[in-house]
Symmetry: C2
Subunit: 349 residues, 2 copies
């Protein structure tokens, strides 16, 4: 009888089980991981088709694609984990073009010995973030590497979205006279991770700002479709985001330190850690650049959204053949805000 030769495979032990090499080898164990963990968690008809690719209908128009690997350490932190971060991060990269994110894909690179309970926690968190954002995870892949050849779990997410007609947001679109806005206080994510890693306590726990910004962006492009640039200041912080814009748009940028929102406890932590909040990653903030005549409308729109309540106008775009980003300090001096050249914060996202 054929049946008697069929090897019986137990259900995944999601409480005490660990990832083994066999979970990445294309056989029954991998299939089990997909069918018992990933498909139920993400729970959508695209993924449930179990093809090597997900199929969906798309309207014609301008699309965008963005991708990010996530190697944040530790995997779990106040305000999120690698799973929610991976969903938010890629949704935000898509949204920074003014696009409405449509779908996500994800891959997991797992280290042999990784606890299935931790994997489930991450996957559940991704699924929740994806559901809350209304952007389903429709395709995925799993690989396993030997113990010592990875670091628990790396998550890569890719997103696609549609850009509304008339919207043209790009790092190359800033022009002198434009205003620079941020959606909220800087540095919460980076400081949350570093505080945890360095085992620092500041009376209150600093919580990551990790959040999906596409709802805020939709409101912004609805009210100011001509917004010129948007960036989420992740690795390298506001400084990197603005230096990229300055270089791509061939302009200079002047910031006003007094107007840049930074929480007091984040500022205190930065002083202790030797960090500069301008270089610290956010995962739920954006910087936007628009014409001066649009900036009060854009600011009001941002402040009217839960994720932009503390938005502020923090600077302006100027002509500058050197494409420098500079800042007027609170003491009236001037300071260069150059690219970060050292490695301020490894594995922050």
């Amino acid at each position: 009888m054929a049946e008697t030769r069929r090897v019986h495979v137990r259900s995944l032990d999601l409480k005490r089980g660990q990832i083994e090499l066999v979970h990445g080898s294309g056989g029954k164990a991998m299939s089990q991981l997909i069918e018992e963990l990933f498909v139920p968690a993400f729970d959508n008809p695209w993924l449930a088709e179990l093809n090597d690719q997900a199929r969906f209908d798309a309207p014609s128009g301008r699309m965008v694609m963005a991708t990010d690997s996530h190697v944040v350490s530790p995997l779990f932190f106040p305000g999120g984990d690698i799973g929610s971060l991976a969903v938010h991060g890629t949704i935000n990269d898509v949204a920074m073009s003014g696009a409405r994110p449509l779908y996500l894909s994800t891959t997991f690179i797992l280290e042999e010995g990784f606890a299935l309970a931790d994997l489930r926690r991450v996957v559940d968190s991704m699924a929740t973030a994806s559901r809350e954002a209304g952007v389903p995870v429709i395709a995925g892949d799993t690989k396993v590497v030997e113990r010592g050849k990875g670091d628990g779990l790396f998550v890569t997410t890719t997103g696609i979205g549609m850009v509304p007609g008339g919207v043209d947001v790009s790092a190359g679109n800033a022009v002198p006279g434009d205003h620079v806005l941020v959606s909220g206080p800087l540095g919460d994510h980076g400081v949350a991770i570093m505080s945890l890693r360095e085992n620092l306590s500041f009376g209150t726990t600093i919580v990551s700002d990790s959040a999906a910004l596409h709802g805020l962006v939709a409101a912004m492009v609805e009210h100011v479709p001509r917004v010129h640039c948007m960036r989420d200041p992740t690795r390298g912080g506001l400084a990197a985001a603005l230096n990229e814009v300055a270089a791509r748009s061939s302009v200079g940028i002047n910031l006003e330190e007094a107007h840049i929102p930074v929480r007091p406890q984040v500022r205190a932590a930065c002083e202790l850690l030797g960090l500069d909040p301008l270089y610290v990653a956010c995962e739920g903030r954006l910087v936007a650049i628009c014409a001066a005549e649009d900036s009060s409308t854009l600011l009001a729109t941002m402040r009217g959204h839960p994720l932009g309540r503390e938005a502020a106008i923090v600077g302006e775009v100027i002509e500058d053949p050197n494409h420098f980003v500079e800042m007027k300090t609170e003491f009236g001096g001037r300071r260069m805000v150059d690219w970060l050249t050292g490695d301020q914060l490894p594995r922050i996202c």
Copy 2:
């Protein structure tokens, strides 16, 4: 003078340089890696925009999305490397829906200390594979992990494509009476990697079959738009691909061992390594299932394409409430071709 405070950064040393944590930190070094290595290699207008997302125009219709992480070890092997493999693998996953692949994105998870010369070799190989396939890499991301927390380089690719009208290819579409075809000899990729890893020599070098199959697929769906299923038998080999189809379509499958093409040196290597060619990964082969009346047209179409010259009809779909895949052996017996339950070949792709 602001200029004097600007830190001078040397060009990347692509001959003797190594990846440092700073290459992943969002500052100047990461920007350099992107501008001096990735952008020139992939050389396309989408990537050159240097936004956090790539923008493109898409026609309306049925789209597909597929994603894969690649952790193959060693990184370089006869017939390819992790870069060409990542391009081919994702193009193939997209193509197995009958779709025309449009765009790819990629991420690199780099281990501190990885040689920039090796990274360049991989990136150049990806760029060549992408150009030859006519599928540009339009978005990317780079992360760096500390020494000992990765394994040189992991590459994740995501692809999107458009399905031609009237084409509906899915693992759930097989019906009893259908014929099963393969596009060429099985197991070359897996045996090439294992021979290298085990330092085996078989007189001739066994070369990976890694190839982009979308041209072959385009010819197939042009001549037989009603083709029911396509899969590329990667991890888990033909056995995994057909067990997935059997389960998804609620059918059984009967194979004829005598008709399954396997190169003599691959068969010899498998015997030495204790492997079964039915379970060994290919990276440039596909298995297709179509109605019996279409199979001679499909076979002729496949044989007329350079990547399908050794195509063969290897079995048929039958009614079977157990959804078993079975094989009539060359000696006239019958054998179950079940899911792989052990870990035959770790890190093959």
